[in-house]
């Protein structure tokens, strides 16, 4: 039927654009990971034989994973409130969630430093009311990185969740409670599974964007909070080491792809049971 044709026409512009202006130049660049200095896998051997690359890859996954979980924990109630509140509250929430984008990365990080550092706003308050005797270490460590990243990445969790939650028919949950389920049970067995597409999309977006972050971790993190994008940037910027940088990018790409295949497979198995 014409349905198939229609799909092709709907896909064509996006696919052509990405293939021509992204896939073609980027794959030309990435092939250098196997073609230079000589043909072979030497760049991949370097990555997997040196502790720094594996260590930084692990760091990256750990930071991105923690950011994703925090975004989900904060984003879920916020999205729920956006759906179930007055238009005015919804507007305030949407506005607040989008705020970080209006300030440049430098200003944003600087503002966080002012708030979090030893003589910063939070520590001043805590010391002032005598809640702590010593200033807390809120920044220049993993905590600082997470505070900064969650604030920027939250919209990518909230909006997919919001758009899915807004479509969920409240009568399902009512039906469950009427049939004797406790509200908590109804939430976990009925509401949460219905939100799942939004939650999964949000988590995917947050995780992937977090993988590529490096300016925020570099400014708010401690010495151990190095992320892979920073290493790739450094290899290119200072040394022009395209082959190794490309190999790192490919490892990142394949790793992310593999992770999502695993999650997908896992969900399919679980999905059968729900």
């Amino acid at each position: 039927m014409s349905l198939k044709d229609r799909n092709i026409w709907l896909l064509a512009p996006a696919v052509l654009l990405i293939a021509l202006c992204f896939l073609y130049p980027v794959s030309w660049l990435l092939q250098r990971s196997v073609s230079e200095p000589v043909w072979g896998l030497q760049n991949y051997v370097t990555i997997f034989s040196k502790t720094i690359y594996l260590g930084v890859l692990w760091n990256t996954v750990a930071i991105a994973g923690a950011t994703t979980i925090l975004c989900a924990l904060i984003g879920f109630p916020v999205a729920y409130s956006m759906v179930h509140s007055t238009p005015w509250v919804r507007k305030v929430l949407i506005f607040s969630v989008l705020i970080p984008f209006w300030t440049s990365i430098l200003v944003r990080s600087f503002a966080w430093l002012v708030i979090l550092q030893g003589g910063g706003v939070i520590n001043d308050i805590l010391l002032g009311i005598g809640l702590v005797a010593q200033p807390l270490d809120l920044v220049y460590n993993r905590l600082g990185v997470l505070i900064g990243m969650v604030q920027v990445l939250l919209p990518f969790m909230v909006f997919p969740l919001y758009s899915v939650m807004a479509r969920i028919d409240g009568s399902y949950v009512k039906a469950a409670t009427n049939l004797g389920a406790t509200p908590v049970r109804a939430f976990f067995r009925v509401y949460l599974p219905l939100c799942f597409p939004g939650l999964a999309t949000g988590a995917m977006l947050v995780f992937i964007i977090a993988l590529g972050y490096f300016i925020t971790p570099a400014l708010l993190g401690g010495r151990g909070d190095i992320m892979i994008a920073q290493l790739i940037f450094e290899r290119i910027d200072e040394f022009g080491d395209w082959p190794l940088a490309s190999a790192l990018a490919i490892v990142l790409l394949l790793g992310t792809g593999l992770l999502f295949l695993l999650i997908n497979a896992f969900l399919k198995i679980r999905g059968g049971r729900i």
Partner: protein, 358 residues
């Protein structure tokens, strides 16, 4: 096109160079400085100048580009901000957009193949201190890593040298240190007692061992703006900071000062990317950056040091103490060895990252 003009250009410039030294008056120098490049007529030509943006590039525009345009009739387009990856990509593609770029000494040393040789038939580097002349670049500013401190935090007990920065008993609390293997290895070795003139080749293991002692007492910064902030807010009492950055907040009233002991000097070079479309104009442009009056103007604007000794006579007295190349300050410090870093930067950067992770 320049072939017929070159000889006259040079002889006139040499003539003027001598007259520059002979004259003592700033005003006279200012006037005499102009016709030097005016011997070249570049009317209708353009070139693209790329640097680090902000007030720094604005000062370079005032000090180098405008005098060059006035003298030759060429037009200089301001571009940037300079970015190593973009520069590299454009040169590797064979057709750079930029004709003159501001790069650091370590970048130039590690990437010499990216740049054109200077044509010393056009470029007259003779007025310069030859330490700051590279076959591919003219030193435009000299800056230094210094022991810096917040006077509100450290009080009268001011740190004098790197040993003080590493002394966690004398100066408890956090210190701000650069998150980069250079100049941190040099700093660690000097803190450990290595004389400034015996630094190279660096004793890497000894340096890292010394760094271990301070690992948990430091905030490692990647951005100079962030570092400025650490000092201004008193988050750290002491540490390492660029002299220009220290001067910037000091003159604006922040309680931040520096010590010149064991300062580590670095050079920013102006270079011509390989294959630059207006390389011939760029070669002539170099003379405008060598000019003593222009270098003095740059120093007066931002306190970055000149490498043309004749410029010192035209620099305001309150700026002089902040410059890395005055005899007094230069004697106390050491020039970073870009040749050493060309050979070792890649391997040591890897080791630095590994060290940070451990």
């Amino acid at each position: 096109m320049g072939d017929t003009r070159k000889p006259t250009g040079i002889s006139r410039r040499k003539l003027l160079a001598t007259s520059l030294y002979a004259s003592a008056s700033v005003a006279a120098l200012g006037i005499a400085g102009r016709p030097a490049s005016a011997s070249v007529d570049l009317e209708g030509r353009e070139m693209v100048f790329a640097s680090w943006g902000g007030s720094y590039q604005a000062a370079q525009e005032t000090a180098y580009c405008i005098p060059f345009m006035d003298a030759t009739g060429a037009f200089v387009i301001q571009d940037g901000p300079m970015n190593g990856s973009k520069l590299r990509t454009m040169v590797e593609s064979g057709e750079p957009v930029w004709d003159v770029v501001d790069v650091t000494d370590t970048f130039l040393a590690a990437n010499e193949a990216l740049f054109e040789d200077l044509d010393f038939n056009i470029v007259d580097a003779s007025p310069l201190d030859q330490t700051y002349v590279h076959k591919k670049g003219i030193g435009c500013i000299i800056w230094s890593y210094n022991v810096a401190f917040n006077t509100d935090v450290v009080g009268s007990n001011t740190p004098a040298n790197w040993a003080d920065v590493f002394d966690v008993e004398k100066f408890p609390g956090k210190r701000a240190l650069r998150d980069r293997v250079y100049p941190m290895l040099e700093i660690a070795l000097m803190a450990d007692g290595v004389a400034k003139d015996d630094l190279y080749p660096l004793d890497v293991d000894r340096g890292f061992a010394k760094l271990d002692t301070i690992k948990e007492h430091a905030i490692w910064y990647t951005s100079n703006s962030a570092a400025q902030q650490l000092f201004v807010d008193g988050e750290v009492g002491l540490g390492v900071l660029l002299n220009g950055r220290t001067f910037d907040v000091h003159k604006k009233g922040a309680p931040v000062n520096l010590s010149w002991d064991q300062n580590i000097r670095s050079i920013d070079y102006l270079v011509i990317p390989q294959g630059a479309p207006n390389a011939d104009v760029a070669q002539h442009f170099m003379n405008a950056t060598i000019d003593a009056a222009n270098q003095a103007l740059m120093a007066n604007l931002l306190a970055y040091a000149p490498c043309n000794p004749a410029a010192f006579g035209m620099i305001e007295p309150d700026v002089l103490p902040w410059l890395a190349t005055t005899e007094a300050n230069a004697d106390k410090g050491v020039l970073i060895n870009a040749e050493y870093w060309r050979e070792n930067l890649a391997a040591l950067t890897e080791r630095w990252t590994e060290w940070k992770l451990s």
